[in-house]
Amino acid sequence: MNPPSATFWLDAQAIPFTPGQTVLQAALAAGASLPHLCFHPEFAPHGSCRVCVVRVGKQITAACTLPAEADMPVESAIPEIQALRQTVVQMLFAEGNHFCPSCEKSGACELQNLARELGVLTAGFRHFFPDRPVDASHPDVWLDSNRCILCELCVRASAEVDKKSVFAIAGRGLGKHLAINSASGRLGDSALQVTDRAAHICPVGALLPKRIGFVTPIGARPFDHPEDAR
């Protein structure tokens, strides 16, 4: 087994890790920068968004599910990998309906910030413009599926932290979508409460608490000043 003091290489940076940690977990714990989207430190790695892809030797793989090994050379900030991440982020923008200027999450949105970090200025591909519903039935929480990136964080938080399983995944392929556990299929008829972890975990603006829009003014949001952030 690897001693707890073992390290691997993230580009030129030595990252310490404990056995059982994945490359992304160790990198983030060490304060290193490694783009990611569906990963959240409170939950098991998911491996679905593929933003955290890295190159290890001949293999390209997701850093969030890759177990760290001593002296493993992990390449991240190389043009090939950055281009791949850009493509993946562009795919997400083409898939949903993301109108940043009118979104309350702007400035605090992980997807928007990732696009900025990666220099993604357009979706690159033709937009799909899917017809997705907005569910405003809940008294305290908005659900705007247009912005959903299918990271399943709300699904996981609701099941694992809140023990309610309010959310589930339905459909297949591009038809994959968020489903609500209630007879009507509406959020307002579900067991979700605004105090639930699931109501506050969305990295984008798909799930938002109502009546606190613009409490944090534009200019004071987490990603408004990239030179300070992260």
Binding site: G47, A168, N181
Partner: protein
């Protein structure tokens, strides 16, 4: 117990034993399949109690229903017809037959008729490329369908004649349809499954593992992983964890163009179950599953009967029991970890690795998932020596492989040949005149053109999962590749971004080229998408979705080039076409009612 899990009455109830924690929704999928079969749909009234019984939420159960093609929670239809829609079916005119049927019944494809009588749609592959074109009605397959048969079907449906009273000989389940052209071992008549079962009963697990490893048997699903190693890993994991192993036979033969497992299951199901018993003895399993693709549900009764026969044999491992679980229309479930998810009753999403299934698979137990042909080979090995096994094949690919030969040739069917035969040899054997290209291993495999016909079918050169689909000079490789792109977009599970979005983008770009709006920009986009899929997708489905396209772009470039416009970019929408509806409404067709694309 649900109706579709065919655990024979004689089988010991090891499943619920302490070694196998029965997760509450272990058989939610099987229960849903049973409900679909009985009621023609999963009604909202049926869904909630089914979900509750299996410890799932209503939304989770609905998520399972919406994942599998053969389950539906809306628009029940008493006759559900699916036309097999792979490249070979299309060669044989499946599109025209579908159109004919819809015309006769006054319906549109993919829409249930208003009276809930009939629903006609396409499905990826029914597993009869040797007997194309094929369709299925309420799960029963019908092969070599022609225009005359379609007319007869339309009449029977219009008259609402019960399916049971249709001519039995129309259906594949009524007579063995196997089209075997060459037999060596798996398909040969010179050995009996009971010899293999008898020999294995006298061997210690280590001896079986050594025998299979020494023989060099490799998985027939495509990847070619050494079977002895897989079993050894599982056995070691079982010893380490104290959990019994689970043995799974993967009969989710979903790759369009393959049908060899269907033939093995039809002719020699006892050999498969014997192979599972061998794996169980070698690894220490008490539970086995045969995961049968939903398209092969018509084989289920015969398989259950064969299972009873083999399990009743005195040499059957006493503590081991096998259940047949059904799939419900999802190609991705052929991937071993997705298959395990499906066995557990969930959506068939491939798992993250590590851990590998041999370490932690079905309900956390060390699990071996082997292809049907691999297990039949394992049974053969119990009745024969290692030297005998290695007498055929090459050093790194010993033994035989069973090919599903279909497409443009005189004698389509199943050919059991030794590893290392050339593509040209197979083409000569099946009477293919003037072949243009061969698709090896189906859409996820690779396209081999004429100059490579000297290549050998073995793991060192050209690995093959059995599918060998021939296209001659009449075929348009562009259209074939475009068909494959739609196949992947349709079958993507949707878990990871590159595959969920990328497969659809790939299909859309090829559609744009097909519509005459393609430019160099689309070609560049195709290459970018292929590379993103290959390197960033979560599982083999996405990673291989652009493989055939890459070869086609290189070897059959003229098929693309002649469709391209000379511009660097062309919008996908048709300006003039957008006015068509307005012209129709106003009755105008003069010059002023048209727009020229070139002005934009």
């Amino acid at each position: 117990m649900c109706r579709m899990c065919t655990t024979p009455a004689a089988a010991p109830a090891a499943f619920a034993g302490p070694d196998y924690p029965a997760t509450p929704n272990a058989s939610l999928l099987q229960a849903l399949i049973a409900e679909q079969s009985a009621a023609h749909w999963i009604s909202p009234a049926a869904l909630a109690p089914l979900a509750a019984r299996h410890g799932a939420t209503r939304a989770q159960a609905a998520g399972v229903v919406s994942f599998y093609e053969f389950l539906t929670d809306s628009h029940p239809a008493r006759y559900r017809l699916l036309f097999s829609d792979d490249a070979v079916d299309r060669q044989h005119g499946s599109a025209a037959l579908l159109e004919q049927l819809c015309r006769l019944l006054w319906i549109e494809p993919d829409h249930t008729s208003e009276d809930g009588l009939v629903h006609v749609a396409r499905t990826s592959s029914l597993g009869f490329a040797d007997l194309a074109p094929t369709l299925s009605i309420n799960g029963r397959s019908m092969v070599r369908v022609d225009a005359e048969r379609i007319t007869a079907i339309a009449t029977l449906i219009s008259q609402q004649t019960p399916l049971d009273t249709w001519p039995a000989t129309w259906f594949a389940d009524a007579r063995p349809l196997t089209s075997v052209q060459a037999r060596q071992r798996s398909l040969a008549d010179d050995w009996h499954w009971s010899e293999a079962l008898h020999t294995s009963a006298a061997l210690a697990p280590a001896q079986i593992l050594e025998h299979v490893t020494a023989a060099g048997l490799r998985g027939h699903g495509g990847a070619g992983f050494p079977t002895g190693h897989k079993w050894t890993f599982a056995q070691q994991a079982a010893l380490r964890t104290g959990l019994a192993t689970v043995v799974v036979a993967n009969a989710d033969e979903g790759e369009p163009g393959t049908f060899k497992d269907r033939v093995l299951l039809t002719e020699f199901p006892e050999r498969l179950f014997t192979g599972m018993a061998v794996a169980a003895r070698a690894t220490g399993a008490r539970r086995g599953f045969l995961y049968l693709r939903g398209e092969y549900v018509w084989l289920q009764a015969a398989l259950s009967a064969a299972l009873v026969t083999v399990q009743a044999h005195p040499d059957w491992p006493a503590a081991f029991s096998v259940a047949i679980h059904l799939g419900a229309g999802a190609y991705v479930c052929g991937e071993e970890s997705a298959l395990i998810e499906s066995l557990e009753g969930h959506r068939g999403i491939p798992r993250n690795r590590p851990p590998y299934p041999a370490e932690s698979g079905y309900q956390g137990h060390p699990t071996t998932v082997n292809n049907v042909e691999t297990l039949v080979n394992a049974a053969w090995l119990m009745a024969h020596s290692v030297e005998h096994f290695r007498r055929l094949g090459t050093a790194d690919s010993p033994g035989t492989l069973v090919l599903s030969v279909a497409g443009d040739c005189a004698h389509p069917g199943v050919y059991e040949l030794e590893y290392g035969v050339t593509v040209a040899h197979v083409l000569a054997a099946c009477g293919a005149t003037n072949p243009l290209a061969v698709q090896i291993s189906g859409p996820s495999g690779t396209l081999v053109e004429r100059s490579s016909f000297t290549r050998r079918l073995c793991f060192a050169d050209l690995p093959c999962n059995g599918a060998f689909t021939i296209f001659d000079h009449r075929r348009d490789i562009f259209e074939i590749v475009r068909g494959y792109s739609h196949f992947f977009a349709r079958e993507s599970c949707g878990f990871c971004t590159p595959c969920r979005v990328g497969t659809r983008l790939l299909a859309r770009s090829l559609d744009k080229i097909a519509a005459g709006h393609g430019t160099r920009h689309e070609i560049q986009e195709l290459r970018q998408l292929e590379s993103s899929l290959r390197t960033a997708a979560h599982c083999g489905l996405g990673q291989s979705a652009g493989r055939a396209l890459t070869v086609a772009l290189k070897q059959f470039w003229p098929a693309f080039e002649r469709r391209l416009k000379s511009h660097a970019f062309e919008p996908a929408f048709d300006l003039d076409g957008a006015l068509a509806r307005a012209r129709q409404m106003t009755g105008r067709d003069d010059a002023g009612a048209h727009l020229s694309q070139d002005e934009s």
